[in-house]
Symmetry: D3
Subunit: 157 residues, 6 copies
């Protein structure tokens, strides 16, 4: 507890999980993009019809989950059994809200996969709205829930 498990004698490594059991593991994460009035207006106006910007962000998030172990140096490459990403325009709060769920049956969890999916979906929202306004901000990228493995279930309080 409280230890930097990715380090051994002060050197980074990919932790040995070969003694762990492959069990079903789930992680959920979220992120939000805080919009400026210009960006909110552009999204409202342009976001109807097919090819909606939020669908682009959703797909980017799904595909990013599969790239997690390429991006995060000490992450294990894992088979993923489910990736779902929701991207919703919360007009009242002037935010785009992203929620991701990732599942695997593996020796280690998928928290980073869920967080990576949420981050990349949020970056994609930024990319599509940056011509309207550069002042957007990504916030609240955080874990909501995880289950499976020895450390059991965790839920944001």
């Amino acid at each position: 507890m409280g230890k930097l498990t990715h380090f051994e004698d002060g050197k980074p490594r990919m932790v040995d999980v070969s003694d762990k059991r492959a069990t079903v593991r789930v992680a959920r994460a979220e992120a939000a993009v805080k919009l400026t009035p210009e960006a909110a207006a552009a999204l409202k106006e342009g976001g109807v019809g097919k090819g909606d910007p939020l669908v682009v962000a959703q797909l980017a998030g799904i595909m990013a989950a599969k790239k997690t172990s390429e991006l995060i140096p000490l992450c294990h490459p894992l088979p993923l059994s489910k990736v779902a990403v929701e991207v919703v325009f919360d007009e009242a709060a002037a935010r785009v809200r992203i929620t991701c769920e990732v599942k695997t049956k593996a020796e280690t969890g998928v928290e980073m996969e869920a967080l990576t999916a949420a981050s990349v979906a949020a970056l994609t929202v930024y990319d599509m709205l940056k011509a309207a306004s550069k002042g957007l901000e990504i916030e609240q990228v955080r874990l909501l829930y995880k289950s499976g493995g020895k450390s059991g279930t965790w839920e944001r309080g």
Copy 2:
């Protein structure tokens, strides 16, 4: 202005930049990881010596900048002429602060590259501290500055 330039007739595409001039373009972005007391303690204790977790995050950020066009569906693949990432433990504020600068000589800017580098560096900090505490949060992923191209210089107010 205010338009979703990535869309044409409601359909996403990678915008045509072949008429633009290749000029030097710079972008700076930041991100922060809000630490819990357990995570701050683990970082303080484990972060001395070589192989420091912040160096892992820094390298992850640099390498992620090069993967931006693979992650963000409508981003142009660009040559990058500089990527610098700084990762600093702000103990007083209980935060890890990340700043990135990316440069190119190209037809389009590198805002997304700087933001992607900041996001992935922040995710890597999360990954290395998650054994200490799962309640960390990534916030303030945002552009600080951009210059070059027709739209000129922009700076966060």
Copy 3:
């Protein structure tokens, strides 16, 4: 003319283009997915509303254009200045029709990028319809047009 330019003394290599001039080059390609009645019905029924399967295929095509030089062994890695992919359900002909346009300013052309985008968009259509019917077929993956470079403009007769 008529030679295998990728080969020298019977050995494959990536052709030297350092003497060529960087000029604007365009390529257009198409592909079609021949549907079974079950697949056409599933597409008709499920393809309304946001998140339309054809948008998924369109984005997959755009992203694949950027991966061309990773997939085709002797292709040069190129900056791309435009990628547009259109995916249309031609109900009368029981086909999904895909058209792609790719642009660059480079020493060599983007025919392979346009063809790769068309192929991967078609494969993605297949993937989304395969639960309805496995008997789909991808056909007519072919170049429609290219311009730029020493060999000039070519158009399918």
Copy 4:
């Protein structure tokens, strides 16, 4: 049956396969490249000896099978236990014929891996012959056979 299983409430996602059993699954697919007389002549003349263009296409197909889940947005990343690709010049029919077989032991099938391998092998044949003739056409990219999993064995009629 006949449903778009990749969609839930009109939104794309990577289907949950965590309840399925990991069983041996096989898929076979094919593709053909229709040659022009110039391309057929170039292949005949240049294709003797080591480094044969067909070997380049074969390797490209094998390597592409491993990239399937990066290319097709909603595909699961899978371990592959076999990939074999055959590329044959059918001079009489003026075609290059490609056949692929992919095997895995996993919760979902490898149809897309076999089809992706066939497509990329065909694109590589195109790339190597395009200096001789741009009028080539890829056709008959289709599944031949699949076995394993709940839906059992399927064979093209």
Copy 5:
């Protein structure tokens, strides 16, 4: 024994391992970078403090292990359960010495993953020292040990 198992009828393929059992497999490999006096001096002088060049090489090695099946055409994509890379400056011998250990639970071994990690760590050392001296040389890239699978344990004599 003594056969080219990657070839069948003279054609390369990814060998079928679906009949093999998934067992724990370990491989260890090493590499060395022979330094010139200028490079040794630059490393000695610049290698103190955080961000040490050897840490960059170590991380590059870890991340490269995960890319093995993308680099080596006939390698199977495998889940990895451990990757550890050590990079040490042997001043007396004027060498940087690299040792890697990779573990998996799979149907085939991880020799190539360990060798790839060692090679890329060595290339990264070269990259960081090449401004000081271009005359460096990578040598002794070789397997030290492997265990698991039908062929059992092997150790360099």
Copy 6:
């Protein structure tokens, strides 16, 4: 001279090359695989006919050159204008010898691309011969020549 140019204040970064001129740059590198008698015999016996193991290694080298900036953390992503890899069985010396040439027109050189191509071609030779003998060794991975850029021409003495 003699400085670690990839580091600034003890921290790694991707060096700023935006002030440099894009000029034609060439690099040549080599590598050798030292064979055991068993491996030499397997290669002699199996290496005739199409699909020769040396062609697989050659293609792996060409494709790896394009992946250099993904593998070496501080390398700039560059367009490549030529990649040629030669792989020769030197039976008398019981070695497979690899030579690579890479060209670009860019702000920085392609030494790492040539060395990466040579290393991965050598690793691929190892992979194909490892069933015959695990005692192979990769050696003499080194730069032979570079030209272009401010530091001018360098040749191994």
